[in-house]
């Protein structure tokens, strides 16, 4: 059942109101962040127009820049989906950072354990499943803590980020790392090809075939959420846990399932770096991508297609930061990410309030 179909064969104005409620906040957030960006650009005495043009040229304007955007999009789709699945179940997964890192190490451990020269046909699925499972295991923990002991997932996922990252660091420094570095040895089993293998202009970019795996995961997540009974239960619990409970849904198990899936999706993102780019696990590869996943899920309105588009937007912003560095410090985009999230958080309830006021006024 699709989202539109569950809600009733709504008359056109009601549907239009719902579309407005979904799309207006991201537009407001975009507008606010452009204004904030202008201020930061003017603060260094540059012209906003020139900076934005440079940003576009450095991202969508040339093959390499665009490929880098795709590379960054791949990870962000995963962490964005992770947060989105949680939000659909009424849960806030702030642990995507640790789950992504765990997924990366999981993929690397399996890849390192395979004999050198193992064909990609075997190695890629095994490593991908390992990333998915490792992230899922990390997500499972706050699920159980919430369902069995009522420990709030916002706090436990934040705390688990620190615990998981310290734990991974312990595994890495114990015996895995190449001396004097913070990464493992390279995997010699089959890995994912770079996109430049097919598209020569992408030469030198890290963009790789995990993009396709991740897009399939986004489609599968959408299907799971909107076309399966488990997904229906998950959304029901997210909307109204008490009602779902009396409707026969096991709320606790649904929470566990949702957070495990959420963690698994974040973990899947680990293959982008490990299998597709460097072919080893490196401490810190996940830094920032987990928190940015929250922004992606919010702007994408917890809808998988929206998440993909929002990931593309934030990846453009992040790659664009490098392009504008000559005119404005690239750190500007770090600040803008915060502005987008803040504006998004403030405009969702405000837009809903204003739309309700308008409806009443009619």
């Amino acid at each position: 059942m699709s989202d539109a179909a569950t809600a009733s064969p709504a008359p056109a104005p009601a549907r239009r109101a719902r579309v407005a409620e979904a799309l207006l906040p991201p537009l407001v957030a975009l507008l606010v962040s452009v204004v904030a960006g202008d201020l930061l650009i003017l603060a260094v005495g540059q012209s906003p127009g020139a900076v934005y043009r440079l940003m576009l040229e450095g991202t969508w304007g040339n093959a390499y820049g665009f490929a880098q955007v795709l590379y960054k999009t791949t990870t962000l789709v995963c962490t964005g989906l992770a947060v989105a699945v949680g939000l659909r179940a009424g849960l806030f997964n702030i642990g995507a950072e640790g789950q992504l890192a765990a997924g990366g190490l999981g993929a690397a451990l399996v890849g390192l354990a395979l004999p050198a020269g193992t064909t990609g046909l075997i190695a890629i699925p095994l490593c991908t499943v390992a990333a998915f499972a490792a992230g899922g295991a990390v997500g499972y923990v706050p699920g159980v803590l919430r369902a069995r002991w009522g420990a709030h997932e916002v706090i436990t996922t934040i705390m688990l980020n620190f615990i998981v990252l310290a734990f991974l660091s312990w595994i890495l420094t114990g015996r895995l790392r190449v001396p004097e570095t913070v990464h493992t040895h390279a995997i010699h089993a089959g890995a994912l090809p770079r996109l430049s293998a097919w598209l020569a202009p992408f030469h030198g970019s890290a963009a790789n075939a995990s993009l396709f795996i991740v897009l399939v995961a986004a489609a599968a997540t959408s299907w799971y959420l909107f076309h399966t009974s488990r997904g229906y239960e998950l959304r029901a619990v997210g909307l109204q846990p008490e009602a779902a409970e009396s409707g026969g849904v096991n709320v606790g198990n649904t929470w566990i399932r949702a957070l495990a899936l959420s963690g698994a999706l974040a973990g899947l993102g680990g293959i982008n770096f490990v299998l597709g780019y460097e072919h080893y696990y490196e401490e810190g590869f996940a830094t920032g991508a987990g928190f940015l996943g929250i922004a992606v899920a919010l702007v994408g309105r917890s809808n998988p297609l929206g998440v993909v588009l929002a990931a593309l937007f934030f990846a453009t912003l992040s790659q664009g930061g490098l392009a504008i560095n000559a005119l404005v410090p690239k750190q500007m985009v770090d600040a803008l990410q915060g502005v987008v999230i803040l504006a998004m958080a403030a405009s969702v309830p405000e837009v809903r309030r204003l739309l309700t006021l308008r409806r009443r006024a009619r």
């Binding site: 930061l40 702030i94 310290a166 500007m332 915060g338 502005v339 803040l342 958080a345 403030a346």
Partner: protein, 293 residues
């Protein structure tokens, strides 16, 4: 004896930023506003304090600038969550990211560096064992940090304002019925929490005489952990801060011996918080209206 003294002195120095942040966090959380923001408040405070001290050449101006920085970030959070009813968790994360982004941006802009500021006037404290103890006397923020928590406890439990804070945190509707302006009380509580947590950051940058990128390094989250571990009571939260600081000191001193991997000592506050939430230490009951509108 001198080893014990050095241990206590170092514990205290590590605890001070936690104490400031926890004092601020308790105040906001008791008013019903979630304090995921402490990390950002600290980072913003550390940066603005450094900037104030750099421009004026006077560390006390730095302290005032730190307070102002925290106050501004606190007000941004307050406007978002109280005026616009933004989700408190989301707004908190945004404030943290905003603090990271803005400090990086202005660090690059003002000092053309992506890692640290130049040396600025601060409150000196040497690193040798004797200086560790005597240094405590040279840094006025240390006694201030020790007073911060009892002051908040007094504010919460002994003043009409504190009563209102606790009332709007537990039952805003009832408080409103009695004529308390829920919004105003929360605005003040969140702004104060920003200023207090920023003093924790101020302590960091003025103690090290410089700002380094990301120098709050998760301390805001440890302070939040201490608040939960202390079950939202200021004095118990302060004890948790001291305990976490002692564990950290122990880790630093044990590092040479490598008895336990440092990573596991780092985990202590976070694991204990989860344990506290799960209820081994008695059920942790947050303020009833925490996170609600």
């Amino acid at each position: 004896m001198s080893m014990v003294l050095a241990f206590l002195a170092q514990t205290l120095r590590i605890a001070v930023p936690y104490l400031f942040a926890a004092a601020g966090g308790v105040l906001a959380e008791r008013s019903g506003i979630i304090s995921l923001t402490l990390e950002g408040f600290m980072l913003g405070g550390a940066f603005s304090a450094m900037l104030g001290s750099y421009w004026s050449g006077n560390p006390w101006v730095g302290v005032l600038a730190g307070l102002a920085g925290g106050l501004v970030l606190g007000l941004v959070h307050a406007v978002a969550t109280i005026r616009y009813k933004a989700d408190q968790v989301v707004s908190g994360i945004a404030i943290n990211l905003l603090a990271v982004g803005l400090t990086r941006y202005f660090l690059k802009l003002v000092f053309d560096s992506s890692s640290n500021s130049p040396r600025v006037p601060g409150f000196s404290a040497g690193t040798s064992t004797t200086a560790l103890v005597s240094g405590l006397l040279h840094n006025p923020l240390i006694p201030l940090g020790l007073v911060a928590v009892p002051a908040v406890a007094w504010l919460l439990y002994r003043t009409p304002f504190g009563l209102r804070v606790r009332a709007v945190g537990e039952h805003p509707e009832a408080a409103a019925t009695l004529g308390v302006s829920v919004k105003r009380v929360r605005y003040v509580a969140v702004a104060l929490s920003g200023a207090l947590a920023a003093l924790g950051g101020t302590y960091l940058s003025l103690d090290q005489h410089q700002f380094t990128d990301g120098m709050s390094a998760g301390r805001g989250f440890i302070a939040l952990a201490a608040i939960i571990f202390g079950r939202w009571d200021p004095m118990r939260a302060a004890l948790a801060c001291l305990f976490f600081a002692a564990a950290e000191t122990l880790q630093i001193q044990l590092q040479a011996m490598q008895a336990i991997p440092g990573q596991f000592v780092q985990m202590i506050p976070y694991v204990l918080t989860i344990v506290a939430l799960v209820g081994v230490v008695g059920r942790a009951v947050p303020p009833a209206a925490l996170g609600r509108e």
